[in-house]
């Protein structure tokens, strides 16, 4: 429970920074953002844990291979439909350390409840 409380506190801090995080424009800096490839398939994101650094600009490029999976990131007020055959880009620039959970919110089958992951932001 202690770990959960700590994680919630971190999530709260990140949620507050979420709007800033998602508004981050790729045009702000001169360097190209780091691109992280992700695959969505029944019933997992691969990878399902993404380490990030505070202030780092990244693009998560998601390729769904078998279903229109969802990617809901409630703490950031953001969700995506991951359409097979199309690369879905999630732009991020974390502003504070913490853990942000994401989950598939399009019911995709028996293992749907297991399809989730998290962004782990370190200082």
């Amino acid at each position: 429970m202690k770990g959960v409380s700590r994680r919630r506190a971190l999530q709260g801090a990140l949620a507050a920074a979420g709007a800033v995080l998602l508004r981050a424009s790729m045009a702000q800096g001169t360097a190209e953002p780091r691109v992280i490839q992700m695959t969505a398939r029944r019933f997992a994101y691969e990878p399902n844990e993404i380490p990030l650094k505070v202030g780092e600009r990244v693009v998560v490029a998601i390729n769904s291979v078998d279903f229109v999976h969802g990617m809901n990131i409630p703490d950031l007020g953001k969700r995506l439909d991951l359409v097979p055959g199309r690369v879905t880009r999630l732009e991020l620039q974390p502003q504070a350390p913490g853990v942000i959970d994401f989950v598939c919110d399009n019911f995709c089958g028996e293992g749907h409840a297991e399809m989730h992951g998290r962004l782990v932001v370190s200082a």
Binding site: V4, V68, P74, F102, D105, N106, F107, G109, A113, H116
Partner: protein, 302 residues
């Protein structure tokens, strides 16, 4: 003996784990005038809510899955006073990719619950029944996925928030809901039956309805609305404004309390206490009160 006295007695002798008055639905009011959608003929009655049976599930979370539903049916049939009707709030079956197997499970479920003594039974789908084929197989066995009915002055609205795999009610159904509500008096007793919570209970566990806020906005002007739902495999009570939401226990395996652990994995089966955390409920609408009374029952009564 009044119904409430009977329930109190069964709570003592029947292993009932919870019984309390719950806000959320009005009976007839003194200031209600006669007219469409009013509760002029409102009388005491009670119904039984069963939910999340997941027929076809096989796994460690319930090694007795093949008999749990039948035991629950027997327990309902053994109630001293039978309910006036029964509702199943979704996930009648456990999902499968195989359309033929899905139909087999739906058919078996239907056959098992046909043994209920009470023959007025209302069904609605859960995402396990309907999301992978947008309700096609479900409709073959149980008909429309959203509908209304009236019982002794209470207007019941079954809302489908699962046939869309994205957990959306959808514009068409929301428009239907808007038109149905437009015919109601603002004081009319209304009960909404649905599978997923209509509010954001725990979105990171997919415990939400994506456009549930739109349904709530339509319901909010009505003074006496109560929502009964399933999906989260546990009893949970929450208010959004003046509207009460009551989730039901499952008949397959319990899930953790919202946010109590990192993942929403089923709570482990307890061999020393089979069916622990599972059950069904009675919902009593009292003539004089402005509330429903909920009494929880285990799968098997001592």
């Amino acid at each position: 003996m009044q119904r409430r006295d009977f329930l109190a007695l069964t709570a003592v002798g029947g292993g009932v784990v919870f019984a309390s008055a719950l806000a959320g639905c009005a009976s007839r009011g003194e200031n209600m005038s006669s007219g469409k959608g009013l509760a002029a003929d409102y009388k005491d009655f009670y119904f039984v809510q069963l939910s999340d049976c997941h027929w076809g599930y096989q796994g460690a979370a319930n090694p007795e899955a093949a008999v749990t539903l039948r035991k629950a049916v027997a327990t309902v049939n053994a109630l001293e006073k039978q309910p006036e009707f029964i509702v199943f709030t979704g996930d009648l079956t456990h999902t499968t990719d195989d359309p033929a197997e899905r139909r087999r499970r739906l058919g078996e479920f239907k056959s098992i619950v046909a043994d209920l003594k009470v023959k007025t039974v209302r069904f609605m789908p859960g995402e396990h029944d309907a999301s992978l084929d947008r309700g096609a197989a479900y409709k073959e066995y149980f008909g429309e996925t959203f509908y209304t009915f009236d019982h002794k002055g209470v207007h019941f609205i079954a809302v489908d928030n699962v046939s869309d795999p994205g957990a959306k009610i959808g514009d068409e159904q929301l428009d239907w809901l808007r038109k149905d509500l437009a015919a109601r008096d603002k004081k009319a007793p209304i009960v909404v039956l649905t599978h997923r919570p209509l509010f954001d209970l725990m979105p990171k566990w997919d415990w939400a309805t994506r456009d549930g806020a739109q349904a709530m906005e339509l319901l909010m002007p009505y003074e006496n609305v109560t929502v009964f739902y399933g999906h989260i495999h546990q009893e949970h009570h929450q208010m959004t404004g003046h509207i009460a939401h009551h989730s039901a226990k499952s008949l397959i395996f319990p899930l953790p309390a919202p946010g109590s652990q990192e993942k929403r994995t089923p709570l482990p089966w307890d061999a020393s206490a089979p069916y622990k955390g599972l059950g069904f409920r009675e919902v009593e609408a009292e003539e004089a009160g402005k509330e429903y009374k909920v009494t929880e029952f285990p799968v098997v009564r001592a």
